[in-house]
């Protein structure tokens, strides 16, 4: 077992159960801690970011608040298998090998299946690619002792579909921080990836079960060296600030739908020099008829105000400022691009001055709502 969190809520109460996997060290790939090097590495290398990202996400999950389904368990598998808790304590967890992941997946599925109102969260960060289906790679991928390369490959879609049938939890969220490219060398291989769980059932029950991918089909996911990945960073931003659907009795709620919408926005808005634009691909199944609340925010929700001018030529002359009723104030000097500023959701006065070329513009009492609210100020000569 690799439970890093388990407050032992009675089984009859709905809970949120998470399985978090971060695979950075691939012993049989380039740069891995070679127990047995593989001849076929398909150009893949050891990664730094996944364990960091997984640990960051697992630690944030402890803060997840949901009265309807509080956090029940957080199971973590890593490669290398060293977990660091928020207090800095270090503990060993199970290595994210195929066998361990399969067993952990079954345990997680069983736990989550004890109550239909449970919420199951699956997070994976590591290597992945795509060949008709999304394939995730556990730590022992390309083990030269394993003749069938597909044994140590995870068939995500089949695992997802089988778990929808096997696990009674009506809400299941899958967060996949992995590439979805198809290396040409791998195409030459004839293999079938392996599902983490099997099912003898045929019926596909109703579920809210989105899959959020860190990359579009055929493209790469990214991380800066030694840093939490961009997808996981966006995920944490959305869970903690930007992902709210709206307020319910004064509390900001993040739902299965609003998380997807916020992630799509957040990822598309991220820009890193030298890298292609990011995107979050949301593969959705939402057949319960309405979204499920995943998390309620303790404080205010945040939103991005996207401040622009019409005509857009005036942007390069515009000095912007945004101010709330308490006097909190942000400003930006002239720049030929839209100003995206993250602020607590609420009411703002937004100003623009154009150095005399256009009349100063004011948008008073502009409401800013998550995840993004555009505001265009008219520049009148």
């Amino acid at each position: 077992m690799s439970l890093v969190f388990g407050p032992e809520i009675p089984d009859d109460k709905p809970q949120t159960h998470a399985l978090v996997i971060g695979v950075g060290d691939y012993p049989h790939l380039l740069g891995g801690k070679l127990c047995k090097p593989s001849n076929e590495t398909f150009g893949l290398r050891r990664l730094d970011s996944p364990p960091l990202s997984a640990i960051e996400f697992a630690n944030w999950l402890r803060k997840l608040t949901n009265k309807r389904a509080p956090v029940g368990t957080i199971d973590v598998l890593l490669s290398p298998g060293e977990f660091r808790d928020p207090a800095g304590g270090v503990s060993d967890v199970e290595t994210a090998s195929m066998g361990n992941i399969r067993r952990a997946f079954k345990r997680w599925s069983d736990r989550a299946g004890t109550n239909p109102d449970n919420i199951a969260i699956f997070y994976f960060c590591g290597h992945g690619f795509e060949k008709g289906v999304t394939i995730l790679l556990p730590a022992d991928f390309a083990d030269p002792d394993e003749a069938n390369i597909g044994i140590n490959m995870i068939d995500l879609e089949k695992s997802w579909l089988c778990n929808l049938k096997e696990c009674s939890a009506r809400t299941q969220v899958y967060l996949i921080d992995a590439c979805r490219e198809t290396p040409v060398d791998l195409l030459k291989e004839n293999f079938s990836p392996t599902a983490l769980i099997s099912s003898k059932k045929l019926q596909e029950p109703r579920r809210n079960a989105p899959i959020l991918f860190a990359a579009n089909s055929g493209t790469k996911a990214h991380a800066a060296a030694g840093q939490v990945s961009y997808f996981t960073r966006a995920l944490l931003d959305c869970f903690s600030k930007l992902g709210a659907a709206g307020q319910n009795n004064g509390v900001w709620e993040i739902t299965t739908d609003s998380l997807g919408a916020a992630m799509r926005y957040r990822m598309a808005a991220m820009k890193v020099e030298g890298l292609p634009p990011f995107s979050c691909d949301v593969f959705n199944k939402s057949s319960l008829g309405k979204a499920t609340v995943l998390h309620t925010m303790a404080g205010p929700a945040y939103a991005v105000a996207e401040i622009d001018c019409a005509p857009s030529e005036a942007l390069s002359l515009a000095s912007f400022s945004i101010q709330d009723s308490n006097g909190s104030h942000f400003q930006r000097s002239p720049l030929a691009e839209v100003w995206s500023v993250e602020v607590p959701a609420g009411s703002y006065d937004i100003r623009a001055s154009f150095g005399g070329r256009y009349k100063d513009a004011l948008c008073s009492g502009q409401l800013v709502h998550p995840p993004v609210t555009p505001c265009t100020l008219d520049a009148i000569p």
Partner: protein, 931 residues
């Protein structure tokens, strides 16, 4: 109290009618209003208290539009929703607001190419490239295409706009699935575009991706704006918006779907919406209507199967049948469908593997095969596209998305060079070789392979295995090689392979060869075989065939014996009543023969009335989830028995549209309707059913129709009349083999029989328009085009007789012999009202990697013979083809079967192949000739 009215800032054409989700938040960030509204303008359906509100809408493109407004007491306020990027044209609103199509230009690309665009259709005969008529920019009969590359001058990132506009009834041209192929910079992509009266296709730069990704994207608009918007939300994963819009929209369309499905694309989106984000429980029986009622749309069966899967206790057989039906129709038009199909088949495959039941074995095998078939399409799929899109240079050859194009491997590369008997040491290879020989009507090769088999089984110690033996006989039967079927079956039996199926196949071959005593002996032998207890189904089949022996005897005899009729009825009914639902074909034969007995005043006692049996069969058919083509054939006859002409025609359309129905089966149903039911062209329902079935037969591989000149006139007239009457009765919106056949008959009327003055037949030819060959001549003037082996200038032309459509013509005009291409053109003057053979649109160029087909109309004999042929080669000015039956006479015109445009004139025919001069070569030669 006050109201809020929204207005879209820019003109967006039809797209303004799209429903989009709109929310209003108060100053406390509480949602006070949520509804779907028309994008163009809307008055929100509630009164607002004075205060500050944020009005926010999300476009399907992903763009969020918002505006804060101050609402004052008793005042209405207008909110202008302004997207950041404005469409350069109103009618491109779909591309800028309803899809995330236009992003940013591809800065890295130095040499952006103007994309090459091709159009494809997938229907009963597989993939066909649709050729754009260069003179009229017309695709098919009524769809006009406009290419506009000028947008890119003002809109960075936009490369090409293609607009398709269908005049008249747009559903007429949707004879299957429509696909567009775009090629540029070494990448090629195929995308499905569901038919609609207007379709927009935009080719834009792709987002900069790693260097091995395609440099462009295709986006398309098809269908009404709200369905486009919903598709945009669904494909981008914005299910909240999809749900907000879809819930209201579905309430509106639900009743329409229950009554009549006019717009299958819209119905499919409604299905996907409810399956993915709504309440699948709301999907009621209209999905069955969609699945059954739109035979060209693979998405219908997928939705039906997914609905069954989502319900309690799905029946694996039904789910599998719908999924397999979907694959049989082709690739889904919508990406949602491709995902559901692939996952659904995978689900079934695992289910069958985990729950092995003998009764599911065949389905399990088919399901596993189809998973493998779809795998490369899924690997090459562009999942972000709302419509199914994949990377491929040819639709049958999907390639990994992102990789550049590579040559299409030849599917005719299998060489058969082994000695005949030795060949069969590799059974699979020989089966493939036999299949190829049969598909290309290479009877010489077919005979060689069969002779090899006979030698092989004679030399073997063990009997030839049953499974490939059955396959071989089936293949021969499907191509109507009954003599070969007989000799092979006899050899197999002689050398120990005596399974009931092989014996039954011999019986069937003998029936087809009209050797009834022999057939009776073989079939009776099966029934008397005491070891047959484990083959209960075989006994029923053999009994049915024995019934057919007596049926044929009765129908074909000059003086029919009522004993034969009664015996046939008894044989069929005895099987039927043991398990009526399981032996429908025995039941329908009982019905047909009882009807015949009634007509011929033959007293029959001891059976239920034909109406009672027909009603039972009708209820069995109605209970079936999926009607396979053999059920459709039964349903056609049954509807005839119940005097339900519309039902008969409906079922026949499905039957004709089913690509798995072969020429043998079409011929069998035609024979049954003519011989047993005695339907005729003169009256209903024969005047609809017979020409439609003849058309379906001709469209099949190896199809042949023989008509005398009177019949050409009659059938042509009847067909025309039937088409008009059909339109009046049933509307014009459905798949119409009748219209295709009508065009074929028009070409028959332009066929010419060339005889010498002594009455000796010289050959065949056809009437053409002079201006198609000599542009300066009048369009009214008609020429005879034939091969110069039929005649050449210098002959005593005034003594040659020409007959076209039963009319005689004399030759008084000029004659040109175009010696370099071996044809003769003869001026016949102005002949108002005659049919001619058009020379356009040109056929798709010959491609060795595909099995291309063509049709010939030979008018040289006493009868006109239409044959569907295999196009086997083309080199220079010559094209070579193989006809399935008789060798076409010199001068026989060769047609592209898609449009019945003239593509060649037969020069000579040998045992193996026929050779024709291409029309392209002739027009090239005549262009420089002096007329």
């Amino acid at each position: 109290m006050s109201q809020i009215q929204t207005r879209f800032a820019y003109g967006a054409g039809d797209s303004e009618n799209a429903l989009i989700p709109l929310e209003v938040f108060n100053a406390k960030s509480e949602t006070v209003y949520r509804d779907s509204v028309r994008m163009g303008s809307a008055v929100l359906k509630r009164d607002f208290d004075p205060g500050t509100y944020l009005v926010r809408a999300t476009l399907p493109s992903g763009e969020v539009l918002s505006k804060t407004v101050e609402v004052k007491a008793d005042r209405s306020v207008e909110v202008l929703l302004r997207p950041r990027r404005q469409s350069p044209r109103e009618n491109l609103g779909w591309a800028y607001y309803l899809q995330s199509s236009v992003t940013r230009p591809l800065e890295l690309m130095v040499d952006r190419q103007l994309p090459q665009v091709r159009f494809w259709q997938h229907n009963t005969s597989g993939w066909t490239e649709m050729i754009l008529r260069p003179d009229s920019k017309r695709l098919g009969n009524s769809t006009y295409v406009n290419f506009d590359a000028s947008l890119g001058d003002t809109q960075p990132g936009v490369r090409l706009l293609v607009e398709l506009q269908s005049h008249g009834d747009w559903r007429r041209w949707e004879l299957g699935q429509f696909w567009v192929q775009v090629e540029a910079e070494g990448f090629s992509r195929m995308m499905a575009v569901p038919p609609a009266p207007t379709i927009g296709i935009l080719v834009v730069d792709a987002e900069p991706h790693p260097k091995d990704s395609a440099t462009f994207r295709i986006v398309a608009a098809s269908g009404d704006p709200t369905t486009q918007a919903l598709l945009g939300y669904l494909s981008s994963g914005d299910f909240e918006s999809a749900r907000n819009v879809g819930t209201d929209w579905y309430k509106h369309v639900q009743e329409t779907l229950k009554s009549k499905i006019d717009d299958p694309g819209m119905a499919a989106i409604a299905g996907y919406l409810l399956l993915e984000v709504g309440d699948a429980g709301q999907l009621d029986d209209w999905t069955r209507t969609l699945a059954r009622g739109t035979p060209w749309l693979p998405d219908g069966p997928i939705i039906r199967a997914a609905q069954l899967l989502a319900g309690p206790d799905p029946e694996p057989k039904d789910v599998a049948d719908w999924m397999l039906e979907a694959v049989r129709r082709g690739l889904p038009m919508f990406t949602q469908g491709l995902r559901l199909l692939y996952d659904g088949l995978g689900n079934l495959k695992d289910y069958f593997a985990a729950n092995p039941e003998p009764e599911w074995a065949d389905r399990a095998k088919s399901v596993a095969e189809q998973v493998e078939f779809l795998r490369p399409y899924c690997a090459s799929a562009i999942w972000q596209s709302p419509f199914t899109c994949f990377s491929a240079t040819h639709p049958e050859d999907p390639q990994l998305a992102g990789t550049s194009v590579r040559p299409v491997p030849s599917i005719r590369s299998r060489a058969v060079g082994s000695a005949p008997a030795k060949l069969w040491e590799d059974v699979n290879g020989s089966l493939n070789a036999l299949s190829e020989a049969l598909n290309t009507f290479n009877w010489g090769e077919c005979n060689r392979i069969c002779d090899g088999l006979i030698a092989y089984v004679g030399a073997s110690k063990d009997p030839f295995p049953e499974k490939p033996a059955r396959q071989i006989l089936n293949m021969l039967r499907r191509k109507r090689r009954f003599n070969r079927m007989r000799t092979v079956a006899e050899a197999l039996l002689r050398h120990g392979q005596r399974s009931p199926q092989i014996r039954r196949q011999l019986g069937q071959a003998l029936i087809e060869l009209k050797e009834y005593p022999g057939a009776e002996e073989v079939l009776t032998g099966i029934l008397n075989d005491s070891s047959l207890t484990s083959y209960a189904g075989e006994a029923a089949e053999a009994t049915g065939l024995l019934g057919r022996v007596y049926k044929q005897r009765y129908c074909e005899a000059e003086k029919p014996s009522k004993e034969d009729l009664l015996r046939a009825i008894k044989l069929y009914f005895d099987v039927y009543h043991t398990n009526p639902e399981g032996y429908l074909w025995h039941g329908i034969n009982t019905v047909a023969l009882l009807a015949r007995a009634r007509k011929d005043h033959v007293a029959v006692a001891g059976y239920p009335s034909l109406e009672d049996i027909a009603q039972s069969i009708d209820s069995f058919l109605n209970r079936m989830e999926v009607l396979w083509y053999w059920d459709r054939a039964t349903a056609v006859e049954n509807a005839v028995a119940l005097h339900n002409w519309q039902g008969a025609y409906d079922h026949l359309l499905y039957y004709a549209a089913d690509s798995t129905v072969d020429a043998f089966e079409c011929g069998s149903l035609l024979r049954q309707l003519v011989q047993v039911w005695q339907l005729s062209m003169q009256e209903n329902p024969g005047r609809f059913l017979l020409p439609t079935l003849q058309g379906a037969l001709l469209a099949r591989e190896g199809g042949r129709i023989i008509l005398n000149q009177d019949e050409v006139r009659q059938v042509s007239g009847r067909s025309e009349e039937a088409t008009r009457d059909f339109d009046k009765r049933f509307g014009t919106e459905r798949y119409q083999p009748l219209r295709w056949y009508k065009t074929a008959l028009a070409r028959c009327r332009a066929g010419v029989r060339v005889k010498s003055a002594k009455g000796e037949v010289l050959g065949s030819g056809c009437l053409v328009r002079a201006s198609d060959f000599f542009p300066q001549r009048s369009a009214e003037e008609i020429l005879l085009l034939t091969s110069d082996s039929v005649w050449q200038p210098g002959s005593r032309l005034d003594r040659v007789e020409l007959e076209a459509a039963g009319e005689k013509y004399s030759v008084t005009g000029e004659v040109w012999s175009v010696t370099e291409v071996g044809v003769t053109l003869t001026a016949l003057g102005s002949l108002p009202g005659v049919e001619i053979c058009p020379v356009g649109p040109p056929a798709a160029p010959f491609d060795r990697s595909k099995l291309q087909r063509l049709c010939v109309i030979d008018s040289a004999g006493d009868s006109v013979q239409l044959q569907e042929c295999a196009w086997v080669d083309a080199s220079g000015d010559v094209l070579r083809y193989r006809a399935p039956f008789d060798r076409p006479a010199p001068g026989t015109p060769v047609f592209d079967p898609n449009y019945w445009s003239l593509i060649g004139i037969t020069r000579r025919s040998s045992e193996a192949t026929s050779e024709a001069t291409s029309i392209e070569a002739i027009t090239r030669a005549t262009a420089s000739a002096k007329p």
